[in-house]
């Protein structure tokens, strides 16, 4: 089992800026979790430590039986894949397909294995129809899917998506949901950072809230989105349907459209 554990982890950037201050978290193997929280809270810094791009200044990042201290970034990234917040930091090939192919090819897999992984990754992200395109001729939202495909093709046990919902339309969000679901069903551990409260409410079992270099709270979406103290600390808001129901007297639990419809109908009946 490859549980991912952060033990008393802190991180300071060169120059001394403390970005993550003594945090602890455990993400169980196969879990599908979201990390949310205010700008500058330390989310990106935290996940970059999970895949070895950054090394904790103090504390331990443990993935299954690996303490990342004892492994190179290349070794860690074979277990934990990371999709950058800014796709342009990640893309450096001139076609979508070669971008996605690069990782598996470097891993010295058989040709068939490379082919089948690339095909799968392009298909699940909807990028197969752009495989000959230069990624820079695609809109930013699609470039994000190119980087997601590149990480999926690595077939790591843990996948981290940094703000995949940014700039996505209705269809893009749907596709992301499906990708998360499928990876989860395959037993992958998936960690997603997002500022989209509706998306978080409907796609995750557990939500980790960060603010000011620390973890504020963790819980189910139902718990987190009715914890007003935590929401305020992390500059978050309830999903819209929760806000409306709250204004009309609901006092917990509601975070989805279906629940809101049910609640409103029950209020109407009572008053009929």
């Amino acid at each position: 089992m490859k549980d991912l554990i952060l033990k008393d982890v802190s991180f300071s950037y060169p120059g001394g800026f403390l970005a993550v201050d003594n945090i602890n978290m455990t993400i169980k193997s196969g879990e599908n979790v979201a990390i949310v929280g205010q700008n500058g809270a330390g989310k990106t810094t935290t996940v970059k430590m999970m895949n070895g791009l950054l090394r904790p200044t103090s504390g331990d990042v443990i993935i299954g039986d690996m303490n990342t201290k004892d492994y190179t970034t290349a070794q860690v990234s074979r277990v934990v894949g990371y999709v950058f917040q800014n796709p342009d930091d990640q893309i450096f090939h001139s076609t979508v397909e070669s971008e996605v192919r690069f990782g598996p090819e470097m891993a010295k897999l058989s040709n068939e294995e490379v082919d089948s992984r690339v095909e799968y990754a392009l298909k699940i992200t909807g990028m197969d129809k752009f495989k000959e395109e230069n990624p820079y001729n695609l809109p930013l939202s699609m470039r994000k899917f190119v980087t997601i495909a590149a990480v999926i093709a690595m077939d790591t046990d843990v996948l981290i998506f940094d703000e995949p919902t940014a700039g996505q339309d209705l269809e893009g969000n749907k596709r992301l949901s499906e990708i998360l679901k499928e990876l989860h069903e395959k037993g992958k551990t998936v960690i997603t950072i997002s500022h989209d409260m509706e998306f978080v409410a409907s796609n995750f079992e557990r939500v980790i809230v960060m603010a000011k270099k620390k973890v504020v709270t963790m819980g189910t979406p139902e718990e987190v989105f009715w914890n007003f103290e935590a929401l305020e600390k992390a500059m978050l808001k309830q999903p819209y349907v929760s806000r409306v129901c709250r204004a009309l007297g609901a006092n917990g639990e509601i975070i989805s459209m279906d629940e809101a419809v049910k609640f409103l109908k029950s209020r109407l009946k009572r008053n009929a």
């Binding site: 700008n39 978050l236 349907v241 459209m257």
Partner: protein
């Protein structure tokens, strides 16, 4: 109507492409209004912005037919600096906006004003003000590249707001922002109306467009498929066929209506939703 920008039968293709990114687009932009530009990914929103600012075709090259008129003059006739002082432009990717020539956030935000030759005292005053407004005061001494995604996006916006241009073209300025930050950016932008600024804002966050924009422009496949009154456009389920989500409260309203609940109208904002639903619950008119 006082028209600041007009597109007349504009068709535009990027170099080496066969399908135009914008197809036969005609639209008038009225001075002092806040336009919300919406549409699915790849529908041409960013290209539309690039046309307004003259980047298409001057930077991107490609083929343009028809006319893009800014205050009555074709963008092709403007000198490069001229359009820059008239139209503030915030790029979709904040990482693109950072100049790369300044070492601190403070200097970065001041950079545009410096280029326009504004006196130093005034630069300082304006930079301090805008940094406060966009909540980046604490980042003043940081290197612009040593920021989180959301912080960088705030800096990108601040560096354009500080110039106080007459027209602002802003491409998804909240994509990396936390919910509070997003709301506050919308508040800042809608306040620009008090100064008679014209704002063209691209956004996927439809709930906020519903709340703050005056009018909406809906793009699909490079064409304008709906334009005008936000209440009408955003409350109608047919928006989904254009690949655009409805505001959450409008979905809620439509769902209840389908189930036979007699709503006075379909709300598009939170406030409207509370009003419409609470009337039903308390039974008062």
């Amino acid at each position: 109507m006082d028209c600041v920008i007009e597109l007349k039968n504009v068709t535009y293709s990027y170099p080496l492409t066969t399908v135009p990114a914008i197809k036969d687009l005609s639209v008038k932009i009225e001075k002092g209004k806040f336009y919300g530009v919406i549409g699915e990914n790849g529908s041409g929103k960013t290209t539309f912005c690039a046309l307004l600012r003259g980047f298409a075709p001057s930077f991107y090259k490609g083929d343009l037919s028809g006319e893009v008129l800014v205050e009555g003059r074709s963008t092709l006739e403007y000198g490069p600096g001229e359009l820059a002082s008239k139209i503030g432009f915030v790029f979709q990717n904040p990482f693109t906006q950072i100049s790369g020539v300044k070492d601190t956030v403070f200097e970065e935000v001041a950079y545009g004003l410096e280029n326009f030759g504004v006196p130093v005292d005034e630069i300082e005053k304006r930079v301090v003000e805008v940094m406060k407004l966009t909540d980046i005061e604490s980042l003043a001494e940081k290197n612009p590249f040593d920021l989180s995604g959301g912080q960088m996006q705030r800096v990108a916006l601040a560096s354009v707001l500080v110039i106080e241009p007459e027209i602002l073209v802003i491409d998804e300025p909240t994509s990396q922002l936390d919910p509070e930050g997003t709301e506050s950016v919308f508040k800042i932008i809608s306040k620009l109306k008090e100064k008679k600024k014209t704002v063209i804002l691209v956004e996927h966050k439809i709930d906020l467009i519903a709340e703050y924009a005056d009018e909406v422009l809906v793009f699909k496949d490079g064409s304008l498929v709906a334009a005008g009154d936000k209440q009408e456009i955003l409350s109608d389920m047919s928006l989904l066929e254009k690949g655009v989500a409805l505001p959450q409260v409008a979905i809620l309203g439509n769902t209840l209506k389908e189930e036979g609940v007699p709503l006075k109208y379909i709300p598009v904002t939170e406030k409207q939703a509370e009003e419409v639903f609470s009337e039903l619950i308390t039974g008062k008119e």
